[in-house]
């Protein structure tokens, strides 16, 4: 068959393969890899993008030492960790719960799923703005509803440094829980019926069925969902930039928000490039370890 095909006119398969892949590869190299290498190079210099003509000096590892030795950066990392951990925990629990409920096939199931999924399709920046309205301490609907159930008086989700870290957790959870839900639902639907039928024959209780059949089957799917969300939230910028823009003070200044401030407000290009490289390596490292662990769990 193969040799018969080769005899036909036109370019060889090998040539076509390269012609087809080349544009994608070239674009990715030009707009993704080149800037990354550029950033790595800048991270060893004292370059300021707004001071053109100023002599750019090679400073070695100075930027990296400065960042890793700075207490402020560890604070940002803590803020980011708080955000990532809580959003993952909440989205895993609520998302899995909703998926379990949706898996009990009832009428209107598909329509309800589509409606529930809507928040995650919206523009995070626009979501950020309209939540500032919902969180408004004087006229916000969120505050009104909370006070309706228990009267806290006037409180400011975004303006208070103790509440602000939670305000971003709430909005992100609202927006992205459908993501875990959808993936878990796919996991639940992939469990073959005969497993439950066999368990029923063996007189396993519903709870035992859940622990020994449902949970292990969904786990790889849930872990995959959390990997995606973890990476996204570690890089989180748009939603929080519009919701709190890192404030009050620096209570919600996640790593990316801090990076934007250093790079585009203070124009410390060399320094911020070093920080960007550190973030990228962190994401890549965590991601790789996570995938290894995930595959181990899958194999079991």
């Amino acid at each position: 068959m193969k040799s018969a095909v080769k005899k036909f006119k036109g370019l060889s398969d090998k040539a076509i393969a390269w012609i087809f892949i080349a544009p994608t590869l070239i674009l990715l190299l030009a707009i993704n890899i080149y800037p990354l290498i550029y950033a790595i190079r800048m991270s060893f210099t004292n370059f300021y993008a707004n001071k053109i003509g100023r002599e750019v000096k090679f400073v070695g590892l100075k930027n990296y030492k400065k960042i890793l030795g700075k207490e402020e950066i560890w604070e940002k990392m803590q803020i980011t960790a708080h955000f990532v951990c809580w959003t993952l925990v909440l989205q895993a629990l609520i998302g899995l719960g909703l998926a379990l409920l949706l898996n009990k096939k009832f009428k209107g199931n598909e329509l309800l799923t589509t409606l529930i999924v809507l928040p995650m399709m919206l523009s995070p920046a626009v979501v950020g703005v309209f939540w500032t309205y919902l969180y408004n301490p004087q006229v916000g609907l969120f505050n009104y509803v909370v006070n309706f159930f228990y009267d806290f008086g006037i409180f400011d989700m975004i303006g208070s440094s103790t509440l602000a870290p939670w305000s971003i957790v709430i909005v992100d959870t609202w927006m992205w829980t459908p993501f875990t839900m959808l993936i878990c639902l796919a996991g639940l639907r992939s469990i073959p019926n005969y497993l439950y039928e066999a368990a029923e024959v063996d007189r396993a209780s519903k709870w035992q069925q859940f622990i020994h059949i449902t949970l292990p089957s969904v786990l790889p799917f849930l872990l995959l969902a959390l990997l995606f969300r973890g990476i996204e939230n570690f890089k989180m910028f748009d939603l929080v930039a519009e919701l709190t823009s890192g404030g009050p003070g620096s209570a919600t200044e996640l790593a990316s928000i801090n990076l934007k401030r250093e790079a585009f407000e203070k124009w410390k290009t060399g320094y911020s490039s070093a920080f960007a490289v550190i973030l990228f390596v962190t994401i890549f490292g965590f991601g790789n370890v996570y995938v290894k662990v995930m595959n181990k769990i899958k194999e079991r």
């Binding site: 087809f20 590869l25 009990k104 309800l112 809507l118 920046a125 609907l141 009104y144 790079a263 960007a276």
Partner: protein, 314 residues
Amino acid sequence: MDTSRSPLEATGFSRKLAATIIIVYMIVTLIPITWMVATSFKSVDSAISYPPEVFFEPSLEGYVNLFTNRSRQPKDYLDSLPPPDTWYEELVRSREMVITGPSKFLPRYSNSLIIGFGATFFSVFLGSLAAYALSRFKVPLKDDLLFFILSTRMFPPIAVAVPIFIMYRKLGLGDTHVGMIILYTVVNLSLSVWLLKGFMDEIPREYEEAAMIDGYSRMQAFFKVVLPQATTGIAATAIFCMIFSWNEYAFAVLLTQFNAQTAPPFIPTIIGEGGLDWPAIGAGTTLFLIPVMIFTVVLRKHLLRGITFGAVRK
């Protein structure tokens, strides 16, 4: 044991309970969106009243404010003007203001459309070429290549924004439509290649092979047999790319300012007198979200695939 149904199937009661909880969640989760749409039909005064008004007199003030710039004028000047020609002028006049010109919303919205469609077209076109090659041919280091393509999504946008900013400044691409189309094309390529490769893997090779035996070249077979077979997949991928470009914010806010700015960085800056103009922001948000909501409904069958880069298929 009741043998008429499989033990998987829930009992009537637990199914009803599940449905109730899901409906309650659906209502609660849609309140913020509904509230924003409702706010777009409120007057400025009604939007800042407390307790929040659930029932209100509808007004188009938000939409008028979204599309116009206005300035406040003294009463005697307003009285000296000829009567307003249109309903929206009348509405603005009743707030003791005059319209001074169109706002930037329309240009920003059309920028979103131009850049969105442009980037979608190129990422789907280039993506389907690469996906076909990766799906059908022996490519050296194929898995590494695919992983490399995916890994470009792991960069925080801000990390590459600085070098791209400098690069674009040198090339004269800063704040231009072309620059943004190229950028969004590249960001979408990883998604497009991964999704389309999945769709193309599902098309049996026999189709093209039969066509080639009938005298088609490989190229012809690709364009005339494979692409038409992959229409659904291509459409789904295109919608995902469109939604991404439509919603993107980080690059837009950092790399564009006047000429090529899209709607997401613009909507949060709509300011009225004494702070943000909530009905106008509501109106902008509503007009901005409608296309995405329609897309979501159209896409519902492929949603899962799209959000997981094809890792999970139903």
